[in-house]
Every structure is written in structure tokens, then in C-alpha cells.
């Protein structure tokens, strides 16, 4: 009896099938990871009555024409970061615990903020302000804080704050979720707490 070999399966259409799937996933794909500015809302309870000295508050107002008033004066958004840095890092007085700011490099102007832990940035805006303007302003203020934290991290630990945070979250690094690193990060965050208050629009 003659030996019959099994007929070969034609794989020519395999590519077509794969292409079909490929195109489907190409179309539905969105690769980018969302990123943005994290923020925390205040809890929905009436705020406690605390007396805050006017010099510890840095007021930023946005009007309906997207113009910005900083401490009562008109200012361009590009100058905001420098003004905020100067205010936060002033260190003119003492913290709530009665300590002077020994890591501040500001002017120590007694008319400006006492201590980074007491410095409050307050944003008020009109209901008609554009979201884009608000985000630009908020981004500038957040980046002022990041710059200060970055500088302090370099001074204290001789490494970048961003890199420290990334290392802490990186499961491949030797310092993944390490307590020591966490303390360092918390220490810097405590020295420059990001206090940005956002008032409800009144007008």
C-alpha cells in the first residue's frame, strides 16, 4: 500500500487574520498614561476659627477676564512663580513650634511670611474664569513648591526629590517602600508643605 502523506495546511491566510486583529487593536489603542496635578479638597465641615496673620497669606485673584491680581497688584502669570518662591521661602519669623526657618534662603523680610509651614497661598477666582488660566496658575504655584523641595533634597540628601519619590515607588529598586527613604521624603514634605487654598467663587 502506498504511503500517503498528510496534505499540508495552507497558512497563507494566517497573515490576513493576524492583520485583521492587528488593525482592530491599532484603532482601539490609547497608549498614553494620564497625568495631572493631584490635589485634595477640604472636608465638608465648617472650618475651625483660626486667626491667620495677613502677612502669611499670599493672595492670588483671577477675574472674569483671566487677569491675575497678586497681593492686590496686577501681575503677568510668568512672574508668578518667582513671587511665590520669594513668599514661601521668606522665613521672616518663627513656625508654630517657635523655630526659625534654618533651611530657608529667602530675604527674611518681617513683612512677608513667617515660615514655610505657615505660608498659605490662597486662590480666589470668578465663576467666569477659564479653566485653562486656573490650571496655568495652579501649575506655577505647584512648581514653585516642587522647586523648593528639590533644592532642599539636594542640600540635605544630595539627591533629587523627584528621583527619591520615583525610587520609593519603583518595585525594582533596592529602596522600594523603604522606611528610611519614606522618612526622608516625609521630612522634606513637612518642611515645605503644599498649602494652596482654593476659595469658592463669590462673584
Amino acid at each position: 500500500m502506498a504511503k500517503r502523506s498528510a496534505p499540508e495546511v495552507n497558512a497563507g491566510s494566517m497573515a490576513d487574520i493576524a492583520f485583521l486583529l492587528l488593525i482592530f487593536f491599532l484603532v482601539t489603542t490609547t497608549i498614553e498614561v494620564d497625568s495631572g496635578i493631584n490635589s485634595k479638597l477640604p472636608p465638608d465641615i465648617p472650618p475651625p476659627e483660626v486667626k491667620i496673620k495677613q502677612k502669611n497669606i499670599f493672595t492670588v485673584e483671577l477675574n472674569k477676564n483671566n487677569q491675575m491680581l497678586v497681593e492686590g497688584d496686577l501681575m503677568e502669570i510668568k512672574d508668578l512663580k518667582a513671587a511665590a518662591l520669594k513668599f514661601i521661602d521668606n522665613g521672616g519669623g518663627q513656625s508654630a513650634e517657635g523655630e526659625r526657618c534654618d533651611y530657608c534662603s529667602g530675604e527674611r523680610n518681617p513683612e512677608s511670611s513667617d515660615h514655610p509651614t505657615k505660608a498659605i497661598i490662597s486662590i480666589t477666582h470668578s465663576r467666569a474664569t477659564d479653566y485653562e488660566t486656573f490650571i496655568t496658575v495652579y501649575d506655577q504655584l505647584v512648581s514653585a513648591y516642587s522647586e523648593l523641595r528639590e533644592k532642599l533634597a539636594q542640600k540635605l540628601y544630595n539627591r533629587s526629590f523627584k528621583e527619591m519619590e520615583a525610587t520609593y515607588d519603583d518595585s525594582k529598586s533596592s529602596e522600594f517602600k523603604s522606611e528610611k527613604l519614606k522618612d526622608k521624603i516625609e521630612n522634606i514634605k513637612k518642611k515645605y508643605p503644599r498649602i494652596i487654598s482654593k476659595a469658592e467663587p463669590q462673584f
Binding site: G12, I31, S35, L41, D44, Y131, I135, K198, P201
Partner: protein, 157 residues
């Protein structure tokens, strides 16, 4: 003549396409892994503002999205041009946010609830009035962690 003469024609042999499926499958697997399916189609314009100092949003399943912006062109006739909120698949009102948050929380495990983050994807032309209305509603619902989702880039023009 010589015994090395090739028999048959001088045509080039056909290029084998047998490895083509392999290549395509490789691409296919890449996109399958990298893909994130859009779970809701947007009925509003969503041109996000850009910011420089951004942080990455963590675990995808611990984020709920609130979209806001003016209705897109195909929905203009029905909903006008005033900025609206979109929760999941449909346009909603401020009052619906509380129920939306509760529904999202119900789908998560109990220990995950405090880690939930609300990502606000708001069109850049939206008024801040709507944004602060959303924030007030979230405060009432006790959902305090938020993220203003932005594009990467310098915000200063």
C-alpha cells in the same frame, strides 16, 4: 557544455512569506498588551489644558473620571453650547455626582475606597464656575482626592 549549468529558468525564487504571520503576530501582541479600551465615548469636547509639573495617575482601576466641557459638534443641537458634565456614557447634572460616586464606590473593595481618586478631565475653555460646582459636589460626597488631568507641556505661552 558545462555540467554546472542550472537547469530550468533563471527567475528569482519567490520570497518566502511564511514568517509574515510571525511579524504581524508580534505587532499584534504588542498592541494587545499596550491597549486601553475606551469605556465611554465622549459627547463633549475634551481639549485638556497643559501643565508642566504633573504626576502620573496610578492604578487604572482606582480612578473615576468626570468629564466636563461644551457638547461636541454632533450634540450641539440637542444640548446647546453651555459646558456640561459627563459621567460614564451620558451627560449629567451636578446633582448626579453624589450618586455616581456612591455607585463607583460600590464596585470597589472596601479597603480600596479611601484610595479612589477622581480625575477631572475638563476642557480648557470651561468656566471655573462649573469646576467649583463639581468640587463642591465631591466634597459633599466625601470624595476628596482629586486630580486635574492635564496634557504634558509648558502652560506658559
Amino acid at each position: 557544455m558545462s555540467k554546472f549549468k542550472k537547469k530550468g529558468s533563471n527567475e528569482l525564487p519567490a520570497i518566502s512569506t511564511a514568517s509574515l504571520p510571525d511579524i504581524v503576530f508580534m505587532l499584534l501582541f504588542f498592541f494587545m498588551v499596550a491597549t486601553v479600551m475606551r469605556d465611554s465615548s465622549l459627547k463633549i469636547k475634551n481639549n485638556l489644558p497643559s501643565a508642566a509639573d504633573t504626576e502620573k495617575l496610578g492604578q487604572k482601576n482606582l480612578i473615576m473620571f468626570i468629564y466636563a466641557g461644551p457638547p461636541s459638534d454632533s450634540y450641539k443641537d440637542r444640548y446647546g453650547t453651555e459646558a456640561r458634565i459627563q459621567l460614564n456614557d451620558k451627560l449629567a447634572n451636578i446633582n448626579d455626582i453624589g450618586a455616581f460616586v456612591a455607585a463607583e464606590r460600590a464596585t470597589k473593595r472596601e479597603e480600596e475606597v479611601p484610595m479612589l481618586i477622581t480625575a477631572l478631565k475638563v476642557d480648557k475653555s470651561t468656566n471655573m464656575g462649573l469646576v467649583s460646582d463639581i468640587e463642591q459636589a465631591l466634597r459633599k460626597a466625601g470624595q476628596l482626592k482629586i486630580n486635574y488631568t492635564t496634557k504634558k507641556g509648558s502652560a506658559l505661552k
